[in-house]
Symmetry: C2
Subunit: 170 residues, 2 copies
């Protein structure tokens, strides 16, 4: 008897990595790895009045210096009301600077201040340290596979969401 949600392997050897159990293991791996992935920055953030949402904002402002508010909204995929709360705190606390657009004065370009860069580095150092040791332990070939699978997992998301994200990533 084959349940309706069971994968039926056509060629056993080639499809073994696609059995339901393999997929469920991958799903749990994603869950636990993501937990580990965020745990170091989360610990650091406890010393501040900031949370994960602040980390994300700071990360992407650092990576795409001078990006517009609307760009950040597209990247994060949240509402402007949600982002605004976070951004307002960061700006009031002097970690982020919001400069009026030069071409279009309605736009605001976002930058990290020196203090903002300090926090970004602190968070990034912790997260990169874990990634580096994982990459090193797994080796270059594994890293290629890791990246490839993650890109494929993203793919559907990007198509169904904002198409601009892919450009922003690279």
């Amino acid at each position: 008897m084959v349940g309706h949600n069971m994968t039926i392997p056509n060629s056993m050897d080639a499809m073994l990595f696609l059995t339901d159990d393999q997929l469920l293991q991958g799903i749990e791996l994603m869950y636990f790895a993501y937990k580990g992935f965020t745990s170091d920055p989360d610990l650091i953030l406890q010393n501040y009045t900031y949370g994960r949402a602040h980390h994300r904002a700071v990360h992407f402002i650092n990576r795409r210096k001078g990006l517009k508010v609307s760009d950040l909204l597209d990247i994060l995929g949240i509402t402007k009301q949600s982002l605004n709360r976070v951004l307002r705190q960061l700006i009031n606390d002097g970690l982020v600077e919001s400069r009026m657009g030069r071409k279009d004065k309605r736009e605001r370009n976002l930058f990290l201040t020196d203090d903002g860069e300090k926090l970004e580095r602190q968070l990034s150092d912790a997260q990169r340290k874990r990634m580096r040791s994982a990459y090193r332990a797994a080796g270059p070939d594994a890293v290629m596979g890791f990246r490839l699978v993650l890109e494929k997992i993203m793919d559907g998301e990007i198509l169904s969401g904002s198409t601009k994200i892919k450009e922003k990533l690279t």
Copy 2:
């Protein structure tokens, strides 16, 4: 000039996958892939009064049928008060059954009811579908690398947290 947070490659070829930029790309990849990874179940859950926390509970009760409440707490890494709210709803709604332990009557063993299994399958189908197509597109070697890197990312987390999780995973 080399900043204090720059990786200094010893042998250029071998270390290229460990540059700060490569690591930051990996970090963003994790972020976006996780978003995609949760997006399908999240959509389904909007038709119910449930959220991601319910999904997790249902997933692990299905995967480790009859597990104790304390096991679930260890796996999820949340407080019993947080879990209790979610579990109470699932039990009241008839998706989860809580049976008194046979050896130790203080313990409660958790099971999905038929309705619980129905929901689990619905959520799991969506998530596995995305994983399957990603795995298929990336190929078996990439999947091996993917799994290896995720395990390494987890490692630190497990050591610093509940050691029992690793047993529970396999």
